[in-house]
C-alpha cells in the first residue's frame, strides 16, 4: 500500500489479471442446486408417503359415525367422539389459562421490567423451559395438580399441565410481537399524557395482537399433538363416556391413536389412521388460521 495516493503506485493502479470462470466454478453451483433440491425432495417425500399411507388405510373408515361414536373393544364400532371432545375441551381450557398468563408475563418483561440481572435470569429460564422435555411437565402436573391440589386425572389437571408446557412458547412469541411495535408509538402516546398502562392497552397490545395470536395458535397446535405429559398425569386410554365437566376423566386424540396402534388387530391400525387424518386436519386448520390472521392483521403499520 502506498502512503502517497498521488504517486498512483498502489495495487489498483496496475492491471489485475482476472481469469474467466472455469468450468469447475460453474459446476460447483450446479451441484449445490441439485443437492438442495434433493434435500427438499427427501423431506417432502417422506411426508407425502406418510400422508398417503395414512390416507389409504384411514379414509375408508372415516365417516360421520366414526366421529360421533365412543371408543369400543370392537374396531367396527369404535369412534373418536370422546377423544375429540376431550381434545377440544382441553385445548380451549389450555388457551384460556395460558393466554392471559403468557401475554401478561410478556407485557411485564417487555414494558415494565428493567434490564436487571434478575430479568435476564428470568429470560434465560423461560428459554430453557421451552426446551424441557414434555414428560417432565407431565411429572410436574402429576405431583402438583393431580395429587397435591387433588384434581385427579381430570381435564382441568391436563389443561393446567398443558398450559405450563406452552407458556414459554406463548411468552416468547408475545414478547417478540410486543418488541416489534415501534417505539415511536409508545413515545407519541406518552407525550400526550397517556399513562404506561393506557399506552400498552391502546397501542402496544392492539398492534402486537396479530403476532400474539399467531404465537397462541402455534402453541395450541403444539399442545394438540402432545401425548407424553397427559399419559404421565394419567389420562385414560380407554374412555367410553363423554366427560361431564372439566373435573371428569378424559382422553384425547393422540392417546386414543396411540392406544389403537398398540392393539394386535389390523382393523384398529386402520381406524388409528383415520384418527390421524382427523388430527392432521385439525392441525392444518389451526395453522391456516394463524397464517390468515397474520396476513390480514399485520399490514397496519
Amino acid at each position: 500500500m502506498s502512503s502517497n495516493p498521488s504517486t498512483a503506485t498502489d495495487i489498483l493502479s496496475r492491471e489485475l489479471e482476472f481469469k474467466p470462470a472455469p468450468q469447475t466454478r460453474r459446476l460447483r453451483g450446479v451441484i449445490f442446486v441439485i443437492l438442495s433440491n434433493l434435500a427438499v425432495i427427501i423431506a417432502l417425500g417422506t411426508l407425502v408417503i406418510l400422508v398417503l399411507d395414512v390416507l389409504i388405510s384411514g379414509l375408508p373408515w372415516l365417516n360421520l359415525d366414526f366421529l360421533t361414536r365412543a371408543d369400543s373393544r370392537f374396531p367396527e364400532r369404535a369412534g373418536i367422539q370422546v377423544a375429540l371432545v376431550g381434545t377440544v375441551y382441553m385445548m380451549a381450557l389450555t388457551i384460556v389459562i395460558a393466554l392471559p398468563l403468557g401475554v401478561m408475563s410478556a407485557v411485564y418483561l417487555e414494558e415494565y421490567a428493567g434490564k436487571h440481572w434478575t430479568t435476564q435470569l428470568i429470560e434465560i429460564n423461560i428459554n430453557n423451559l421451552a426446551a424441557v422435555p414434555s414428560v417432565i411437565y407431565g411429572l410436574l402436573g402429576l405431583q402438583l395438580f393431580v395429587r397435591w391440589l387433588g384434581m385427579g386425572r381430570s381435564i382441568l389437571a391436563g389443561a393446567l399441565t398443558m398450559a405450563l408446557l406452552v407458556l414459554p412458547i406463548i411468552i416468547v412469541a408475545s414478547r417478540e410481537a410486543i418488541r416489534a411495535v415501534p417505539q415511536s408509538f409508545r413515545e407519541a402516546s406518552l407525550a400526550l399524557g397517556a399513562t404506561r398502562w393506557q399506552t400498552i392497552w391502546n397501542h402496544v397490545l392492539p398492534y402486537a395482537l396479530p403476532g400474539i395470536l399467531t404465537g397462541n395458535i402455534l402453541a395450541a397446535s403444539r399442545a394438540i399433538g402432545e401425548t407424553a405429559p397427559l399419559i404421565t398425569i394419567g389420562a385414560l386410554t380407554f374412555v367410553p363416556f363423554l366427560p361431564r365437566d372439566i373435573l371428569d376423566r378424559f382422553t384425547v386424540l393422540p392417546i386414543l391413536i396411540f392406544n389403537w396402534t398398540s392393539k394386535p388387530q389390523r382393523e384398529f391400525h386402520d381406524i388409528a389412521a383415520a384418527g390421524i387424518i382427523v388430527l392432521l386436519g385439525t392441525l392444518l386448520v389451526l395453522n391456516a388460521i394463524a397464517v390468515l390472521l397474520r396476513a390480514k392483521l399485520q399490514k397496519r403499520y
Binding site: 428493567g114 434490564k115 415501534p182 415511536s184 408509538f185 409508545r186 413515545e187 407519541a188 402516546s189 406518552l190 407525550a191 400526550l192 399524557g193 397517556a194 399513562t195 393506557q198 391502546n202 397501542h203 398492534y207 397496519r300 403499520y301
Partner: protein
Amino acid sequence: MTRLDAQIRYATVAASAETQAVHTPAGDAANVIEARDLSVFYGSFCAVRSVTLPVRRNKITALIGPSGCGKSTLLRSFNRMNDRVPGSRVEGSVLFHGQNLYAPNVNVVDVRRRIGMVFQKPNPFPKSIYENVAFGPRINGWRGSKSQMDELVEAALRRAALWDEVKDKLKQPGTALSGGQQQRLCIARAIAVQPEVILMDEPCSALDPIATLKIEDLMQVLKQDYTIVIVTHNMQQAARVSDYTAMMMMRPDRAGEMIEMDETGIIFSRPRDKRTQDYVSGRFG
C-alpha cells in the same frame, strides 16, 4: 423587552461562568420553562452539563449545535421523556411556572399533557385521522359528548392547518397522509390536549422543503397560543422561525453544554462566542 433581555443575558453569563445556581426570580411570568444548572446523565455518561436556559412564553426558542451536543436530550428533559431511558437521571432542575418538574411529588403524566411533543419522524398512530386527534383528550379523561369531540377534533386540525385537506377523509388512516400532512396531524394531536408548551425535535428533518415551509408558517401562528421549543440542524430554519436561539456544543468530555443564548438576530449577526459564529456561518458542524 429590555428587562427580558437583561434576564436572558444574566442567565447566559451565569451558565458560561458555570456557577452552581442561578437566581432568576421563581415564577417569573415570562418564563414558562426554565432549566437551572441542569445536567442529564445516562448511567455514568453526562450528556448535558450545567445548562441554564429560560424559555419565554409565546416565543419560539431554537436549540442549535452540532450532532451529539445534547440538544435532543435537553429538549426531552423538559417533558421528562428521558425517564424512559434506563439509567437516566438529572441534576439541577427544570422549572415549569416555577415548579421543579423533577421534584418527587410531580405527576409525570400531567407534565406531559401540559408540555407536548412533536417528534423527528412523523408518527401518527395506525388509526383514523379522527382517532389520532381524539386519543389525547380521551385518555386524559375529557368527557365531551360526540359532537363536542367532533368540534375539538376540527378545532385542533384547523389550528394545525390541516382541516381543509382532511375534512372529507377523517375516517381514513393517518398513516396514509403525506409526510408533511402526517407531521401536521401530529401537531394537531399534540394541541388537542391543550398543552402550554410544544417541544419539537427536528420536526422538519424528514420533510421536503415545501412541507417544511408549511410547518414553519404554522409555527408562527401557533406561537400566539403556545410556547415552542424547537431543536433543529437547519441554520436557516432557526434564523427564520425562532425568536431566541441557544447554541450548544460538545465539551471535550463529550458532555453537551450551552455556550450562548440570545435573541436569534444577535446569535446570527454578532454572537459573542467565536464557536457560535463559526457554526452559524457554516464553517463547521
